[in-house]
Symmetry: D3
Subunit: 131 residues, 6 copies
Amino acid sequence: MTTVRLIADDEASPQVRAVFDDIRAVRGTDYINNFWRALACDPSLLAATWSRLKDVMAPGALDPLVKEMVYIAVSAVNGCEYCAHSHTASARAKGMSAAMYGELLSVIAMASQTNALASAMQVPVDEAFRS
Amino acid sequence: MTTVRLIADDEASPQVRAVFDDIRAVRGTDYINNFWRALACDPSLLAATWSRLKDVMAPGALDPLVKEMVYIAVSAVNGCEYCAHSHTASARAKGMSAAMYGELLSVIAMASQTNALASAMQVPVDEAFRS
Amino acid sequence: MTTVRLIADDEASPQVRAVFDDIRAVRGTDYINNFWRALACDPSLLAATWSRLKDVMAPGALDPLVKEMVYIAVSAVNGCEYCAHSHTASARAKGMSAAMYGELLSVIAMASQTNALASAMQVPVDEAFRS
Amino acid sequence: MTTVRLIADDEASPQVRAVFDDIRAVRGTDYINNFWRALACDPSLLAATWSRLKDVMAPGALDPLVKEMVYIAVSAVNGCEYCAHSHTASARAKGMSAAMYGELLSVIAMASQTNALASAMQVPVDEAFRS
Amino acid sequence: MTTVRLIADDEASPQVRAVFDDIRAVRGTDYINNFWRALACDPSLLAATWSRLKDVMAPGALDPLVKEMVYIAVSAVNGCEYCAHSHTASARAKGMSAAMYGELLSVIAMASQTNALASAMQVPVDEAFRS
Amino acid sequence: MTTVRLIADDEASPQVRAVFDDIRAVRGTDYINNFWRALACDPSLLAATWSRLKDVMAPGALDPLVKEMVYIAVSAVNGCEYCAHSHTASARAKGMSAAMYGELLSVIAMASQTNALASAMQVPVDEAFRS
């Protein structure tokens, strides 16, 4: 159950259709996942989000797999069910092994606990960390 | 201002002292940052947290720098000032360049926005993501 | 699946019944949504929550529709599935158009990303913002 | 203390300078707040963030003041000190009265408490909310 | 730096003054902490918040100290600096020992990490937990 | 739907089997809940998490029931569906009455709202709270 209707191909406006076509071309698959079909309720939000995602997740100073793992971490902390699933699937498609996933989960768990401790105790930042 | 007193070396109990010594040995520095001096208010919590952190952040299937970047991501989303500073410093010490940091920030920002969108619209998870 | 039983009309205590009756009168509908039937597990919590909600969401310096949109924003960030659905439904009933919802989603996404960036970089607040 | 250096005008690259100039032109002020000077550590992130913000916060189906109030709500829930200050200042500059701010705070508080209750009890979404 | 002015006694309206007087009477101290002086920017929000807090934190089926420790836990997870400090002070005033605080921190850290793990992996709720 | 396969007894490695056996022994039940079967995707994460949980949740300066209620509070704020259910079930098994649960929910709701208010207004911490 979603708050908006998922837009099917045959009801997509030309602007939505253009984004769907670009998603297909960039990813090399015909499949458009639900997130984009939901965002299509607002064509300009859809276009802006896809355009930025395409740039941000492209290879650069960081490997695309590293980026997917960072995405999983953010999504877990935000408790986003959809993004946890979609980016875990993406990370696996880009080569994340079971061992890598286990270590990723371990870091997420570790950071979550020390974040909570530092916030509870309100530990002052060390001068030594000044950049 | 912290909720507990930061424990100085000369007031550390033997159990606390042992952890401080191990932190110094593992990191190759004499400096003990405030987080550990605050956690020393509870020696068993200090020992358990350090022991686990040491294991989790060690090299493995993931590079230590990747782990630090995941740590930064989790800390940013949790709004943890202390951890954002300490792990950004650690990541730089392990080789994070300005370009890598810029891309890391971009992924964190991207994930935060799509997480919020997916949560607002409650997008249903695609069957295609089933592992 | 909820952690408490949803209280049906015929098992409601007089205190619960009085709140249900007031919800019906204020909203002009016979329907009591699940949130209130769950809260009824604690009659005083139910009464206090409903009484405050009624005051807060009434017309005032802000339009009730604006209040519903703020409610959606808070619920999205907190990842609250129930509240995202119930308040999106309320906002629509109060006149939120598709265009308004699209812009609301865009602001939620924008704020989520700049929040994450400001927290990651721990940007100091400008003196200029001092009220 | 921030994790990056705040970029002053005289050290800004041409790409950064162009964004700073546009911020000044759009806002009709010479003042560039710290968020943008921090983001300037990554010129493409700076440009993308500013470009999108300018579009999202412009008048449309929602009034710019409503957008600022939604921004405040998101920032409060995310615990973002910087954004709470900067967008409260912006909202006031756009006409938010003390009465409006008081009601905004009341809605944020109300939503935060019912979000927590719905999440604690895991209340199932009513069929009646299906769009 | 706060987004509103802290209201001093001599500028308090009669409605604000009445709440301040009640806080003093209930707590047996002349000191009014900043939270209430800030909330006084909206007298009805101030009155509603204090009235509810007084009821909720009173002795009942749960001991007031247990309630303060739950308050600390919520505040730590929400990253609320103010509330972490004020409720840790309150808990100590009500008898929280160093050992109790250490165990409280340990539970907060434990829950934060398993929450993150369960959210990352999206573990399905067991039928056995159905109430 | 989970991101990993839930490990059944007959496919558990010796390390996983040892943890499952210890869970059964400590809890005095044959039932292993899904969280542990999911964590078993990474045997060392499973072992570390269980070992720490066993220590943290044991009787000490705080009663085990108090610990479970703190766990519920953290899980509600983090929006963790799984943990809200599993720890509410545990708290009930340890004696949490309906009245206690109602007061726990009331404190969680109260703290969530004052946290949001303090964060929105960025109330400065009182000197009086300095430990």
